[in-house]
C-alpha cells in the first residue's frame, strides 16, 4: 500500500487497519506513515495553540506537541502490551506498537482538521480559558476517533472492552503528565518571555489536588502571595 493512500485508509477504514496490525501485514510501511501523520497533525495543532501568544511560541509549541505524543506512546507501549496480553489477546509487541501508532495517527489527523476552526475562534477573540477548553474538546474528539482502531482490533467482547478501558486509562494518565511537564503550549499574550518548559512543579495530579483545595477556599501560601 502506498504511503499517500495509507493516511486515507487510517481515516476511512479503521477496521482494515486494525486487521492489518493484528495480522502483522506490512507493518513497517504502516508505522512510517502513522508516525508521519502523527508528527504533522500534532505539529499543526501545536502551532495553532502557539498562535494564542504568537511569535516564537508558535514553532516551540509545534515542536513540543509531537514530542509529547511520541514520549507518551513510548512510555505507554509496555503497559499496553502487558494489559492486552493479560486480558486475553495474543498480540506481539509489534502489533501493539503498530496499533498504538495507527490510533494516534488517526487522532492526530482529526486534530489537524480541527486546528483551522480552533485558530479562527482564537483569532476572533476566544479567551484563554475558552481556548483551553476548545483544545481539550478537540483532543477528546480526536482521541475518541483514534481509539476506534484499537476497539475494532479488540473486538466487542467484555475482555476486549476491559482491555481497551485499561489501556485508555494508562494512556490518558501518561499523556496528562507528559503534557504537564512540557507545558506551556497556550501562553497568555501578556506573558513577557517565551518559556520552553516550566520548572518542575509536581504532577498533573498535584495540580488537580491543589485546585480542589482552592475550590474549597483553602489556598497555598505561594498562591496567596502571587495574587495581585
Amino acid at each position: 500500500m502506498r504511503a499517500d493512500s495509507e493516511w486515507v485508509a487510517l481515516l476511512r477504514d479503521p477496521a482494515a487497519i486494525a486487521a492489518r496490525c493484528v495480522e502483522e501485514r506490512d507493518l513497517g510501511s504502516l508505522a512510517r506513515s502513522s508516525t508521519a501523520c502523527l508528527v504533522i497533525g500534532a505539529c499543526v495543532l501545536g502551532g495553532v495553540l502557539g498562535t494564542f501568544r504568537g511569535g516564537a511560541q508558535i514553532p516551540l509549541a509545534a515542536a513540543k506537541l509531537p514530542l509529547v505524543l511520541l514520549a507518551t506512546l513510548s512510555l505507554s507501549a509496555p503497559a499496553f502490551y502487558a494489559l492486552a496480553n493479560a486480558l486475553g489477546t495474543s498480540w506481539s509487541f509489534r502489533t501493539v506498537v503498530a496499533l498504538s501508532l495507527a490510533a494516534s495517527a488517526r487522532a492526530a489527523l482529526v486534530l489537524a482538521a480541527l486546528a483551522p476552526p480552533l485558530w479562527l475562534a482564537m483569532d476572533l477573540g476566544l479567551g484563554y480559558h475558552g481556548s483551553t477548553l476548545a483544545a481539550v474538546i478537540a483532543v477528546a474528539i480526536g482521541g475518541a476517533l483514534g481509539v476506534s482502531i484499537l476497539l475494532r482490533a479488540l473486538g466487542g467482547t467484555l475482555a476486549g472492552l476491559t482491555s481497551g478501558l485499561a489501556c485508555g486509562a494508562v494512556f490518558l494518565a501518561v499523556l496528562a503528565q507528559t503534557a504537564w511537564i512540557a507545558r506551556p503550549f497556550l501562553l497568555r499574550p501578556r506573558a513577557g518571555n517565551v518559556v520552553i518548559v516550566r520548572s518542575l512543579e509536581g504532577t498533573f495530579l498535584d495540580s488537580v489536588a491543589l485546585s480542589l483545595q482552592s475550590a474549597r477556599g483553602v489556598y497555598a501560601e505561594d498562591e496567596v502571595s502571587e495574587a495581585p
Partner: protein, 211 residues
C-alpha cells in the same frame, strides 16, 4: 470486525507464529521447571515496578516487599480453596492449583512490569508522596485485579464439566479467596507502600506527604 480468540487457550497469534513472550509467561502448560521459571520472571517484573517506585526515596530494601507481597497474596489462600474444591469433588488437584497461582502471579508481574515506565514518570516528577502513593496504589490494584481474575479463571476451569452444586461451591470459594486476597493486599500495602516511599507509617505519609 477482527475476530480474536480471547481464551487462555489462544496460544497462536493471527500471524501464524508461536505464542508471544507474554503468552508464554502466562501459559498454564509445561513442566515444574518451566512453571518455576515463570514464577521467577513474574516476581522479577514486579520488582522492576517496585524499583521504579523507590527511585526518589531510595528505599531499596523495601522494594523486595512487592514480590513478597505478590507471593503471599497469590498463595496464602490457595490451600483453603484446594481443600474446598476437593471436598466438592472437583477434578482440581494441588498441582493444578499451584499452576493457577503462578499464572496469577506471573500475570500481575507482567502488568506491573508494563506499568513501570509510566509509574516512574509520575514518581520522578511528583513533589508529593501522597500523589506518588495514590499512583502506586492504582497501578498495584490494576495489576492485582488482572492477576486475580486470571487465577480465578484458571481455578474455575477445573469445574466446568461439573454439576450445578459443584460449580456454585467453586464460585463461592473463589469469591471468598478474592475477598481474602484483597483484604490481605490492603493490610500489606498499608505498611509496604509508605516504606517504599521512605515513611514509617501510612499516617505519617498522609500528614507529611500532602500536596
Amino acid at each position: 470486525m477482527v475476530e480474536i480468540e480471547m481464551t487462555t487457550d489462544a496460544m497462536e497469534t493471527d500471524a501464524g507464529r508461536g505464542p508471544g513472550w507474554a503468552r508464554r509467561l502466562m501459559s498454564l502448560d509445561g513442566d515444574d521447571l518451566a512453571i518455576a521459571r515463570r514464577l521467577g520472571v513474574g516476581l522479577g517484573l514486579s520488582w522492576v515496578f517496585a524499583a521504579s517506585a523507590a527511585v526518589v526515596s531510595e528505599a531499596w530494601a523495601a522494594t523486595l516487599g512487592v514480590p513478597l507481597m505478590l507471593t503471599l497474596v497469590g498463595t496464602l489462600g490457595v490451600p483453603s480453596v484446594v481443600i474446598g474444591l476437593v471436598l466438592s469433588r472437583s477434578e482440581l488437584d494441588a498441582r493444578d492449583a499451584a499452576r493457577a497461582a503462578v499464572h496469577g502471579i506471573a500475570t500481575s508481574g507482567l502488568v506491573l512490569g508494563g506499568l513501570a515506565p509510566a509509574t516512574l514518570l509520575y514518581v520522578a516528577s511528583s513533589t508529593s508522596d501522597l500523589i506518588r502513593f495514590l499512583v502506586l496504589t492504582a497501578s498495584l490494584s490494576l495489576g492485582g485485579l488482572v492477576g486475580l481474575g486470571r487465577m480465578a479463571h484458571a481455578l474455575l476451569a477445573s469445574v466446568e464439566g461439573g454439576g450445578p452444586r459443584e460449580r456454585i461451591t467453586a464460585y463461592a470459594l473463589v469469591l471468598g479467596f478474592a475477598a481474602f486476597s484483597g483484604l490481605l493486599a490492603l493490610r500489606l500495602w498499608s505498611s509496604l507502600g509508605p516504606a517504599l516511599l521512605g515513611h514509617d507509617t501510612l499516617t505519617q505519609l498522609v500528614l507529611e506527604g500532602g500536596v
